[in-house]
Amino acid sequence: MADELRIIDNDITQYIVVALGNEQYGIDIKYIDNIVRMQRITRVPKSAEYFRGVINLRGEVVPVMSLRVKMGLPEGEITGKSRIIILKVDQSGSIGVLVDEVKKVYNLRADDIEENLSHDSKSGVQSFISGVGKVENGLVSLLDLSTIIGEAD
């Protein structure tokens, strides 16, 4: 019985689902350090266009990128629902991604996730997608964080 439970636990990944316009994207919760409200962002000159700048997160300077611009979408309005998701992917520091809205947390089982995507569908966006998860009311694209962050170099 106990063994069975453990297997089930291992099988489930939690994703936070965020909205960019009408689209929904899932971010693996294990990379998320914090979610903060929109705050004053200091522009950094000559940085890549998808970087909004840097913020002060509890005394640390953390760069923030616009997930919209990074995904090739037009820059959106900042609203009361805008959030900065602070990601900690490896040891080398945090990075924030700006999203339109944080929706909810989904538990996805491994068999709910389709990883083999055909790579010939529309824009270049899907290169940032590691898979698609089935949720009760539709599909969620799961973000491949290492490509999103890694390309910043």
Binding site: T42, R43, P45, E60, V61, P63
Partner: protein, 719 residues
């Protein structure tokens, strides 16, 4: 025993010892008779061996043991310092360094046995690099029959290693008691045949045979080490027995594969004097000892210390080896303690936090001071007091982190020596300003870039002796490294009196390598051509040597130095030499800065780089080569509009006068146009992290009193 907790200390201390060995070997190479150096080397090798043993690093221990043996032979006057020997010793030192490096990385000493180095050392030990070998064997052969025939066994001092054992008081007492009790005390050194495969087993049999006749009081190496086969071909023992010496010798020789036994009977005086070998009581042995050593020393091509001196030298040696337990300390007690750098980092971070909090308090107090009542007056005063305390605290912590740059430079004399041999050039390295202090982090990381620059000077800069004499320069090229402080920066100049950079040759190479089109290349001015040398993937070397010229070099130097917040430039004159000027910030963490507004955004400029602040009427701006300049007290200064450099939002401003912050770098000045001055502030430098790339002129960010992030402008990057 869990020694893990001592690993840090072990690494620190072994590094110090290795450095001492290095320095003194270099001295010894110049001055082969320098007794102080020989003693210092012996002490360092001995401590290293001891530490390695404690930590259980067997290979390292073996190597240091052999090294120590060589030095002890040198000190004893049995060996002379030759350039050959120095080479081998340097190799051994490199191998030791290799072990220590491996230990630092993996906590384990690795698998490398360094057999070849040990074999080389062994060769020297067995008689002056091979020459003495035969002679010694002959002697041995001549003596062994005598030994077999009559009891008074060989007392050839070379063989009688037991004489070198330093006896502890307790052991002496046991032996003296034995003498009083009418028993005999013998010292033996047993030699096992070189071909023997099971040295430990043979030694065990010897022990067993001897213990049947008497008691073994002392053994060197210890019986444990012998059991673990941690000895070469010989071991020495002291035996207390009632039997005559020839019976004991016979018993030892009954064990097969025992080549030779040296031994003699000890009386009380000899017991007392053992290990000191100075023969205070003028015993026969001591006299004999000297008479045998002296000719041998001569046969090994004139000893380091003339034959009359071994006595004095040995006295020095014995006094230090008898103090084994308490290694010689410098008489003046040092007023320092070792502190883990991590603890200092924590302290520095706390000070940073404190300063951020103080800045927040300052800005709240400033808002309150509108009400001019006595309460707000008191708050303002107290905040000012707090400000001065935190500033002093910061300075003190920073000073704690400052170390002389010396530790990064220590390895260079040795490196230049090695390069000299490798390149067949003659060169002399002069270092000045080793005492210049820098943040520990910078000192730790500046070594590699400086090494590249020095190698570059040695390899590309200096000409061969023939060319040099042809040009009327001294055959020995000089390489220099000068460190000094200049304002908030530390400058390190590395240069040579060699060929200098041939700008036209570089230009040709740029074209040849298709690095740029011919047209582009011809348009570059001299400085721009030289800058190409710092580009990744561009190497000038005509042939790839293993010293430099693999296309990694100057670009790595540049990026390493920039990572430390510094920069590097070159001054060169063809035929006369080049100088690389490395400029480093004094501190990494906290600086005094001038806060300015540009396009509504706040930026910080390090105060140390600012020369003056000027109010300049727009009408005074002139155009030179399409660039804006102003004339200031006789000099022409280029104007940089920060709003353009930073793509700052356009805002309306007073168009009649410009606020110009004049910054300096070395001898050059530049004027930065800003919109508004906001005053001076102490700022804590934070990195922007690896994810976001920006212009080189943004060197970091800081958090202001109100929590806002402001970027820091590195004015050195504007030149």
């Amino acid at each position: 025993m869990d020694v893990g907790q001592y690993l840090g200390i072990f690494l620190d201390e072994s590094q110090e010892h290795i450095q001492a060995l290095n320095d003194n070997l270099l001295t010894l190479e110049q001055d082969p008779e320098n007794e102080d150096s020989i003693n210092e080397i012996f002490r360092a090798a001995h401590s290293l061996k001891g530490m390695a043993g404690t930590m259980g690093y067997k290979r390292l221990q073996r190597l240091t043991h052999d090294t120590e043996d060589v030095f002890s032979a040198i000190r004893g006057g049995q060996m002379k310092v030759t350039s050959n020997l120095i080479d081998i010793l340097f190799q051994a030192l490199d191998a030791i360094q290799g072990y220590v490096d491996t230990i630092r990385d993996t906590s384990d000493e690795g698998e490398n046995d360094n057999e070849s180095v040990i074999a080389e050392l062994g060769k020297f030990l067995n008689g002056g690099g091979g020459e003495g070998d035969e002679g010694e064997e002959d002697e041995g052969a001549a003596e062994s029959p005598a030994e077999k025939a009559a009891a008074p066994v060989s007392s050839n001092s070379e063989k009688a290693l037991y004489r070198k054992i330093v006896l502890e008081e307790a052991q002496k007492d046991v032996m003296k008691d034995a003498v009083v009790a009418d028993k005999k005390v013998y010292g033996f050194t047993v030699y096992i045949a070189e071909s023997c495969m099971l040295k430990a087993a043979r030694a065990f049999l010897v022990f067993k045979a001897v213990e049947e006749l008497g008691e073994i009081i002392v053994s060197n190496p210890s019986s444990q080490d012998i059991e673990d086969e941690k000895f070469d071909l010989s071991f020495s023992i002291f035996v207390v027995t009632a039997e005559p010496i020839d019976k004991v010798v016979a018993a030892i020789k009954s064990v097969s594969e025992i080549e030779e036994v040296a031994g003699e009977e000890y009386d009380e005086t000899m017991i007392d004097n053992n290990g000191t070998e100075t023969g205070a009581a003028g015993t026969e042995e001591a006299a004999e000892d000297e008479s045998t050593t002296a000719p041998e020393a001569e046969s090994a091509e004139v000893s380091v210390a003339p034959a009359a001196e071994p006595k004095a030298e040995r006295r020095a040696s014995s006094s230090s080896s008898s103090k084994k337990a308490a290694p010689a300390k410098k008489p003046v007690a040092s007023q320092t303690i070792r502190v883990d750098i991590d603890k200092l980092d924590v302290l520095m971070n706390l000070v940073s936090e404190l300063i951020i909090a103080k800045n927040a308090l300052v800005s709240s107090a400033a808002q309150m001071s509108g009400g001019s009542n006595s309460e707000s007056q008191a708050i303002t005063e107290n905040v000012e007091y707090l400000e001065s305390v935190t500033t002093n605290l910061h300075e003190s912590v920073m000073k704690v982190r400052m170390v002389p740059i010396e530790s990064a430079l220590q390895r260079f004399p040795r490196m230049i020596r090695d390069l000299e041999k490798k390149l067949g050039k003659r060169m002399q390295l002069t270092i000045t300003g080793e005492e210049t202090e820098l943040d520990r982090t910078v000192v730790d990381q500046i070594g590699d870039p400086l090494m590249h620059l020095l190698r570059n000077s040695a390899d590309h800069g200096l000409e061969t002796p023939e060319v040099r004499s042809g040009r009327g320069k001294p055959e020995t090229g000089s390489i220099f490294l000068n460190a000094y402080q200049e304002g908030n920066n530390v400058i390190i100049e590395v240069g040579d009196d060699g060929n200098g950079i041939d700008v036209e040759a570089v230009r040709q190479k740029i074209i040849e390598r298709n690095y740029m089109s011919e047209e582009q290349a011809m348009q570059l001015n001299d400085k721009e051509v030289i800058d190409v040398l710092f580009d990744p993937g561009f190497s000038m070397a005509k042939q790839v040597t293993d010293i430099s010229g693999r296309g990694v070099g100057l670009d790595v130097v540049k990026s390493n130095i920039e990572q430390l917040g510094g920069d590097v430039e070159v001054k060169t004159k063809l035929g006369e030499g080049s100088t690389f000027i490395v400029r480093l910030p004094l501190t990494l963490a906290i600086i005094q800065a001038l806060m300015v507004l540009v396009g509504g955004e706040k930026y910080a400029i390090a105060l140390g780089n600012i020369q003056t602040i000027e109010d300049i009427p727009v009408s005074e701006i002139r155009l030179v080569e399409n660039k804006e300049v102003i004339q200031l007290r006789g000099s022409v200064i280029p104007i940089i509009r920060l709003s353009d450099m930073l793509d700052a939002p356009e805002i309306e401003r007073d168009n009649e006068n410009l606020i110009v912050v004049v910054v300096k770098k070395g001898d050059s000045l530049a004027g930065l146009v800003v919109d508004e001055l906001m005053g001076q502030q102490e700022v804590v430098i934070k990195s922007l992290g690896k994810y976001i790339n920006t212009s080189r002129i943004i060197s970091g960010a800081t958090i202001l009193g109100d929590g806002e992030v402001a970027l820091i402008i590195d004015s050195n990057a504007l030149f």
